[in-house]
């Protein structure tokens, strides 16, 4: 792990882990809300977001130099997911998900730099 200090990587692992969990929980919430919340493209994006967060967190946990590539993808996917959730920002749950995605996108973008 030559490129980043340990604290920054630990922070990114935490951001990915939290974003993964919030996305998985929020998918269920959206299914229960139905309507605009259950848009197929949005729910598919949230699951891909959860998956890439997990892949990136694990790459960092195992100290794999290839984390720069997974973190770059994670930053992009989280940004898309944050934007989609922010479009429903009148709902506190969606704001919370948008915020977890935004924080993860920023942390991963630093890791990928």
């Amino acid at each position: 792990m030559p490129h980043h200090d340990h604290a920054a990587m630990r922070d990114c692992i935490d951001a990915c882990t939290r974003c993964h969990a919030v996305c998985v929980e929020t998918i269920r919430y959206c299914l229960e809300q139905g309507g605009a919340h259950a848009d197929p493209a949005h729910l598919s994006l949230m699951q891909t977001c959860a998956d890439i967060c997990r892949t990136s967190a694990d790459a960092m946990l195992r100290g794999d130099a290839a984390h720069v590539h997974t973190c770059r993808a994670c930053a992009e996917v989280c940004r898309l997911c944050a934007d989609a959730c922010a479009d429903m920002a009148e709902d506190a749950r969606m704001r919370e998900c948008a915020e977890a995605c935004r924080r993860c996108a920023e942390s991963c973008a630093r890791m990928a730099a």
Copy 2:
């Protein structure tokens, strides 16, 4: 899935699925060989390769437009993994893994284009 024809995406899902499986099998083989085969950085890279292949295959299976980002990362990680396996090309198992990674890298690069 506007950017790619269905057959190309199906081919990429197959390449990711095969690369994932070959990497998981080959990690065990490398552990049993020991020595140079059990290099920590190489085995870590192979597991990250298996993980990003799975994430990309699933993004395509669910028709998520964000697959372009996971496929871009997958192409990079598979290329690194193919090179590392090709360094042990005197071993038929490693050549097989290198080939699965190379084919997946090429297919994902086309998806990410």
Copy 3:
């Protein structure tokens, strides 16, 4: 892998891999259909089914003796998912998913025996 012959395990890996893929694809299909297809409990079960299939396939690919435990869970979850999909058997896509789950449940039950 002392307890099962190689061909039976290979067959189970294939059944898990196929069931995983069909569930991920069918979740998206169900979201697009909406209505009864988008029942939150059903879609949550399908994603858990996809996840445990992946976990079991990987345990077998790496020759881990603990696959008996993951296969036992996989058999149970796939059985539940097959039943839920069979409840919509007037839809050919749901019948196909039910069949993939049923075949995986049977194969995993043999592995867990």
Copy 4:
């Protein structure tokens, strides 16, 4: 989630998430130690443990009733992994991993009851 109170499930999600992370980190540590630490069966078990912990955590995060099946498998696999790590209890890192596995096994066994 009818069978368990919310706090117990939250505790189990945390135990699975922590066990997953500690296993992924400890695999890399074991590879770097080599020798008895890099036993193929042990490292394979640790990765299956990480995978089933993730599958169970996600099933609970999405409130899927099928979590009882994944948690039952998780309890068994974590118990095996705790025992294997405890065999190297002269190493503080392995003791820490054994403890995370033990705690997860107990929490998952309660969820599966």
